[in-house]
Symmetry: D2
């Protein structure tokens, strides 16, 4: 740490003007980030800043991006262990820098050993207040919402954290266009009813009310992942639900067998290739139930089901389910929005939407959300 010996360590818990993005269990010492797009934000008047990060994993390592004055400057894999990372150095000590350190990778339901924490900073300066954005958005989704494939060459096939991005996916871009703070709840492969492979446990709704309920392992439990989220502290103006892509995948995937019970799960296609009515109905019931739950925790938010970057086969079912919800509850602050389809020009890694697809989605989705927020 050449030339940085004069910096003073401060625990994050001791910083008055610390802004945390994304759900947490409340503990600040250290700060644990669970979801992609979760972040620590600071306004710092200093010549240099280091941050002490702690990362662990059994299989899937964490990545972070560092934004200085809203521009991504650094993106790196985090080795296991506790490290000091230099955020900036050698800058004008009188100028205030806005710093965001963003989790680039989704919560990892498949790796009980994966966690990411921030302990302290080391700086020669002071921290200033951070203005809240005028709006709040919450995004709920699957691999698309996790930014899977935003990074990496088109030929990449490995399922690894490197190809995920929180700062370049449509959630970040939409929030920026709308001028909103935002949170993300997402998991690759998961759906409303089941995951892509018919596993009924791979659904987002069941653990929605928990801080990060899809995480497993003792450490995550101890970190508060399974605690009930403090919804009162952060109510979004709009909840964007981008689910359904994997529910459709389940119709095209083999059955899933619960090894404990022997029970078999399968969303069926009929001989003519269309969705089986019973299974489609089960999906629609799941959508309705999730809307009910979302409303329970988000009293006055507009709930927006946004679907379509990888096709719209379940759109009629989504519209039906939303209709049923509205008719049965009288709740009219719910609507549906079709997202633009990925094309051969906008595809990214792992045949997932690339940066151009996320930019196009953000442009169209933010236009619609601006309409909602302006009441038009």
């Amino acid at each position: 740490m050449n030339g940085d010996a004069h910096l003073q360590v401060q625990r994050l818990a001791d910083i008055e003007h610390l802004k945390i993005h994304g759900r947490t269990a409340g503990d600040l010492d250290p700060v644990t980030l669970f979801w992609t797009g979760s972040a620590i934000e600071l306004n710092v008047q200093a010549s240099g800043l280091w941050i002490e990060v702690e990362s662990g994993y059994d299989q899937y390592e964490s990545w972070i991006s560092i934004l200085i004055n809203s521009v991504p400057v650094s993106r790196q894999m985090l080795n296991a262990g506790r490290h000091w990372i230099c955020v900036f150095r050698g800058m004008n000590p009188d100028a205030v820098k806005n710093i965001r350190i963003v989790k680039e990778v989704q919560a990892m339901s498949g790796d009980p050993g994966c966690y990411l924490q921030f302990h302290a900073v080391r700086t020669d300066g002071a921290f200033l207040p951070i203005e809240a954005k005028p709006y709040r958005l919450e995004f709920i989704g699957d691999s698309i919402t996790s930014g899977e494939g935003v990074i990496g060459a088109r030929e990449e096939l490995d399922w690894i954290p490197a190809w995920f991005s929180g700062v370049h996916n449509y959630t970040a871009l939409t929030a920026e266009a709308v001028n909103a703070d935002y949170r993300v709840i997402s998991q690759s492969g998961w759906g409303v009813l089941t995951s892509w492979d018919n596993n009924p446990n791979g659904n987002i709704p069941d653990s929605y009310e928990q801080v990060c309920g899809l995480l497993t392992g003792e450490r995550n439990e101890a970190l508060g992942a399974h605690k009930v989220n403090d919804f009162a502290s952060w109510q979004p103006d709009v909840v964007v639900v981008n689910l359904g892509t994997n529910d459709n995948g389940a119709f095209h995937s083999p059955e899933w067998v619960d090894e404990a019970t022997g029970q078999r799960y399968k969303q069926r296609l009929k001989e003519d290739g269309s969705h089986h009515e019973e299974d489609l109905a089960a999906f629609e019931v799941a959508v309705v139930k999730f809307l009910v739950k979302l409303r329970q925790y988000n009293h006055s938010s507009h709930i927006l089901w946004a679907y379509g970057m990888l096709g719209i086969p379940l759109m009629p079912a989504i519209y039906r389910a939303v209709d049923v919800y509205i008719q049965s509850t009288g709740d009219k602050k719910v609507s549906v929005f079709q997202l633009p389809d990925m094309t051969s020009e906008t595809v990214g890694a792992r045949t997932h939407p690339g940066l151009l697809a996320h930019q196009q989605t953000a442009q169209e989705l933010s236009g619609y959300i601006k309409g909602l927020l302006s009441g038009s």
Copy 2:
């Protein structure tokens, strides 16, 4: 290094198929990279790869970018010391990945303590041959060619390594468009005759024949920075010289006084705001001399003077000097090309060209170079 315990360490010097981009003094144990855009390239068939890097600095730290299959995946500041950095992990061990680890920051003439070395890799796989590109380009320039301002918000004013980029500047983009290997020789603030502040030592030509002659300090000398470059081993098809922007700056800056001798240096403007003829002539002589030196070391390369991203006030002088060189030598493999001016839409950090400006320059410059290479 969870899950990576089975990886085997190999020194870089022991790898048969190691490709190094950029000038070196020849030593492979460790490999020292001097210039921006310099890189280590590997084709590796493995599930994981780590690299051992050593970095030092008194003031200006090094940054690297990691490209996997030609796509930038990671970009990070390097702390002082010797560290293992994970390049990738958890990938299909049978697939071959093309890896480039690229120096993002220019050689630092102002920091004798700055150096960057690579010692070894740790992997579970094998290294395969790397095909040479059909062409070779060498770029010689100043801050523009160093990619200063490509990264960072427009309001950034600090002169720090973070705002430099080797992989997103016009040199990398032009080489990619032309399908060429490339090298960069560049220094912010320097010119053909003097630096922007009239310092006659801030000229690129004087040390062109050395591996990285503008570096100072004992360590750099020991690393071979002042050795004569092995030109025979790498002859470019085209040498692009992007100098003159700081030579013009000198006309608009205060004089520089050599504290040792008391001698004063100043490129003068006349009362009407035009360049003083004598000083302009000195600039032109410097251009001619540099062309002579470039030809001495690059026997059959086309030499292309490319100038203009921050205005073209010295273009008439450059054309005159190139004319004088051609008339006096009969050497016709020299030409001049105007680069597109930066605009308010394409500006980056530190009022330097941003990514859009570098992309536009690469598009136009690569079109011209393709014409040269095809002999049209």
Copy 3:
């Protein structure tokens, strides 16, 4: 007609290789074009070509565009009367030119005196066969589909034919992207159930089976506008219905009174600003009925309801109606597609979608249609 004295007149009815785009009543002597996008197409091997056009109007004049080898070269208002228009002259007589003369303006329900006919050509060459495109598309819509506002400055407010375009609207652009012949049935202000001002006569479905049933006046009747269209001769692969924008407008417009009967018509909003359920239901019934009629005349076409360039307030109702239709008929070759919303960057004249909006719609819509046509 300097230098063109050697050209020979031929009646269109006598040309073997004449291709007519758009519905006609069958008569070729002269050829009458009714709808926007309707066209005469010729492959002509000649040095010059003139065409004899006849145009009439009480209020709204006709405009045509001339395309040579698929590129728009000329666009002009047609004065009333019978005129010879030079299509091209002075060209290589041996080269074959593809010529399309396209009606730029919609059928004018409000002007019984408006008509457009083509009588003859004058040329020194021969006509060659015209290959059919592999697909056929039919577009049914309102002002958006008529290309209203594609031409003209943003401040234009007059409702005049000059601001309409058949060759630059999304129908032409989509057909080109899909490589399809196409037809358009459209009328500004009209809907499925009523026009924007609650007039129940302003609906497209009632006269769909007629060649151009919305035209009035004796001349148009004599020209066959009210004859039943010959559906057997031209069955589209996809019928795109872009209606609903004016049906929503009716909810926000004053009632319409039938002066003959005194009957009042009004699609009502409720106090909370939402659509009155009864009136929404009437709209949905109209959608279902129209789908039934479309299927009656288009036996194996995919029917695609495409909606959204000026907002999506009726999308839930459209999805419901399409669902009802599918459930009650078992006909699954029907789907719904949301079009991208116009933005402040893509608006054209008369606050209608401009060229950029039509290009974006064509890009997304053609992607979806390609999926339908490939069976994916």
Copy 4:
């Protein structure tokens, strides 16, 4: 002229607020337009406007574009004879429309019978003053400046007026970006010294001082084409000279023989493919002489030699000539600017720059000109 019977005829010569763009011989009854981009401009508060045009030709007919409120609405070939053309009709009589009727085709040195005149208008409204733009530009050039190839398919090979455009070429686009009135002096195939085929008569400088000196025939002479232009009435801020492309072509074309004298003309290449020094010197002398003439008629204009959309082989010679001019005259208001090269993506008809190439040139050229005009 249905519904337009109430319009009143006015001769153009009687309209107080008539603005004419482009050089004229001064006569307003009728107005004769010679050069491409020349135009009649009116601010008219009326419901309708017709204009009486007279056009003649032996070989190359005239085309015009009509712009309403700066947007091109109509583009058409003009048949020989005298005709009334409807500019607009049916518009709000209280709104003021800005109208420009623009000559789309260059003056035709090869057709003594070609002319274009405007006699009168017919309207129900009044004409209002037209504000002058803050700047004035004059463009002097060849086929590029005549917009040859801006219209038409890439495969077009015929040399016909249809492929030319005055309103979509870089002169109009640059003037719009700079907010300037502008004039064009241009001729396809011509150069500074000779035309592309070595004809010494095909040079622009010789007749620069005449209104439109390159026209031939008694009619054009009677119309004042050979009169000395009234330079005092319109002095440009910047004269842009885009010549040299055909002068280079002459080096690659067969000799031209003056049939009257038997004299042979040929710009020679040497065996190594480079320009013969003597012939290059002759070109440079021609450039210097033209600069002297330009200064004679444009006392305080900046003279800008802009060159490069189809390659830059003569750029060194142009720089040398401009240097010689500056050194010998002390006139420093002269500079050189390289234009961006056309690419395979931006090519238009007849392997000439297409619309995209003209847009790119206008973007870069207008940036440079704005710098000149702001004195920076």
